[in-house]
Amino acid sequence: MKKLCVVLLALSLAVPAITWAEGKAANSKEFVVYLDKNAKDNHYIPSGWIGDYGDIKMIDQSAENPHTGTTSIQFVYSAKKSQGQGWAGVYWQNPASNWGGKKGGFDLTGMTKLTFWARGAKGGEVLQKVIVGMSNKDKTYPDTASVEMGPLELTSTWKQYTVNLAGKDLSYINGGFGWTTTADLNPEGATFYIDDIKFEADPDLKPEGKKQEAMPFYIYVDRSTAGNHFIPSGYMGDFGDIKYNGASKEDAYLGDTCIKIIYSGKAAQGARWAGIFWQNPANNWGSVDAGFDLSLATKLTFWARGAVGGERIEEFKVGGIMGEFSDSDSATIGPVLLNKEWTQYTIDLRGKDMSYIIGGFAWSTNVDNNPEGATFYLDEIKFEK
């Protein structure tokens, strides 16, 4: 009898726990991702380290000036590109390290926003974006939504940020929260703190439509600028032939830095050509619904120069990524023989449908026209009215 009581007691404790793990948060006004180390209301674990995970150090009980309670989470991003990616990030998951292969998400129907507090150690640190929900449609238990916001330039004091989730299907969210950043945005690395992450139910919040981006809309201004959009992540062809430096100080056209690209022409992968696509988000070849509405743009302009002059770029391009979520249009110029002096180039977008653009910019070249390789520079890449 005593034994039976123990079993019943254990069951009575276990069943609610199981129900909660798969359960609904619909009746609550808030649902906590993280409050404090070991807070009983925490529901997700910061276990999904992505990109250059070797560049990240996490102290999950930093007592250094938390926003509330006794701790916040400190992240130190070194920007050393330990895994050669140029970017890194962390996802909060349930259970730990669950990318969608296990059932562990929560039904957050009724929640309309996610809020969190963040500050930089110095101020000026840039998060490329924060994310709610994972893009993992190919997994057994995929998240029902994935919403991004960013880039965010942090201040040295605590500031609250809000991700609008109104109208989103939150019936199964396994990636409760995530952030990513890049070495380009933080060439010297970044130390920042995050606290009090939670979903909230705000019935007055309206769904956010896809907003038409204002012009000019920059792809590259300068290194570590929050105004930069799209990530130079789509390496194509002989990707081993490409060295990309987004913080070159060799005679930038404007500002501190420009982009320097060295194409070796060694045909490392045997393709005999190579190129880079600037994508949103990184590595999106059309599988993630994340295009910018650039309908107001009538042209894309950029400045370019060759190290010696005469380098031949086969194509500069806007759009043209084809996938489940394809770019709404594409436009190209080329082939272009670069001058040794900075020269401005324009891709005409009049008459093009720029309402949904994942691939903001791209270049490609080949070994046949650059047998010795090519070194060239790009700066001030932007969409304009």
Binding site: G286, I321, G323, S326, D327, R350, G351, K352
Partner: protein, 411 residues
């Protein structure tokens, strides 16, 4: 006397006012409506091209197989199946040199099943070492070949029109079969070289089109073109074609294609080659659902953009699916042993066919699996058995009841 006079007057009126009913073959033309939309007219009635690309190469044979003279007449059985599906047009890329055999095919398809034919010519695109479009002798040779084709077949009642070239425009960019000329070689700027080649090529096609119109005023002439590439030059140098016949592989949607064409080169559009393969290169198995899903979505967009549909650009006159039957020789044309097996190795990558894009090297397109009808190894009436795939039935049903869906659901 009076009676005779009346008859003469009637014949005159007939000829002057319609130019249709008194000629030996019906006048087929594309008219622009008041709302600027385009409509293909056949026998005075609107005609939507519900087409299929046709090249019935049997298992074990290669591209040079002379199916036109096949004693089993594959087009007879195929035409019957096509008619049951709702196909009203076949696209033939190049006619055979045996004119009688060609006429027989066109005639049988039309008389037995009411299926009309677009006849094409490669315009020397595959000539070794490359198509010298800047060379007068080469141009003359191609011109003679095309005008001979038009003269031979223009009076065949089953002919619907002419399509000049396929993706020949890519040669102007140097992507496929690159060519040059002494004049182009003198230009150091590669962008200007491209523009010069495009001018030469499209001007030449324009000349062919003018010649065809002189010989045959009764059928429209189409410019075959890969995607929209180069059409800004066609707009300047190739205004005498009647329509653009575009080859396009963009997965479930043609995107902004129809509107872009309006902006670039405002001509009627035939989607002369599009489709989807039915082999999942990631899971390594046939996936008929995948093919059916893409084809239905593509036809949905074609219908959205036909004349008098408020949703679309109104410039589409129809399309031709690539293709009727699988072709087992395509993966390795040089290996006769390979023609006897249906190869599953993918040869190129296209992210817009996203179901199997995670295949090795992202190569997901299987050239030997594009048929809406599969070929069986067993023979039926002397031919490989025809086995309609799911896409055959899905498109048949769509054509019967083309309810345009605004949302594209997953397979």
């Amino acid at each position: 006397m009076l009676k005779k006079y009346h008859l003469l007057a009637f014949l005159l009126i007939c000829t002057v006012t319609t130019g249709i009913s008194c000629t030996s073959s019906p006048r087929i033309f594309i008219k622009q409506l008041k709302n600027k939309h385009y409509q293909l007219m056949v026998n005075g009635r609107p005609y939507i091209v519900k087409g299929i690309c046709y090249n019935p190469i049997p298992i074990g044979a290669s591209y040079d197989y002379n199916w036109w003279s096949d004693p089993n007449k594959p087009w007879i059985a195929d035409g019957k199946l096509m008619k049951e599906m709702g196909v009203n047009t076949v696209r033939l890329y190049q006619v055979h040199e045996d004119a009688q055999a060609v006429k027989q095919v066109i005639s049988d398809l039309y008389k037995l099943y009411g299926i009309r034919t677009f006849l094409g010519d490669w315009l020397g695109f595959w000539e070794y070492p490359c198509p010298f479009y800047g060379d007068k002798k080469f141009q003359d040779k191609v011109m003679r070949q095309v005008t001979a084709m038009v003269s031979l077949y223009k009076d065949e009642p089953g002919v619907l029109g002419w399509i000049l070239g396929n993706e020949n425009n890519y040669s102007c960019l140097g992507h496929v079969n690159p060519w040059s000329s002494p004049e182009v070689d003198l230009e150091p700027d590669p962008q200007k070289q491209k523009a010069m080649r495009a001018k030469i090529y499209y001007s030449f096609v324009n000349e062919i089109s003018k010649q065809i119109h002189k010989i045959d005023p009764n059928h429209p002439v189409g410019l075959g073109n890969g995607e929209l590439v180069g059409l800004e030059f066609a707009s300047k140098f190739c205004q005498d074609v009647d329509f653009v016949a575009c080859i396009i592989y963009r997965g479930k949607t043609f995107g902004n294609f129809f509107k872009s064409l309006r902006m670039t080169f405002d001509k009627p559009l035939l989607l002369s080659e599009f489709g989807a393969d039915c082999y999942d290169a990631y899971l390594k198995k046939e996936d008929q659902n995948m093919q059916a899903f893409f084809l239905q979505s593509q036809w949905n967009q074609i219908y959205e953009n036909l004349a008098n549909n408020k949703i679309g650009a109104g410039n589409c006159i129809g399309g031709a699916i690539f293709e009727w039957t699988d072709e087992w020789w395509k993966h390795n044309p040089d290996n006769p042993e390979g023609w006897k097996i249906q190869d599953t190795e993918s040869s190129w990558s296209n992210g817009s066919y996203y179901y199997d894009i995670r295949a090795d090297g992202n190569k997901n397109m299987n050239e030997e699996w594009f048929g809406v009808v599969a070929l069986g190894a067993q023979l039926e009436n002397g031919m490989n058995k025809r086995i309609p795939r799911k896409a055959y039935y899905v498109i048949r049903d769509f054509w019967k009841n083309p309810a345009i869906k605004k949302t594209h659901k997953k397979k």
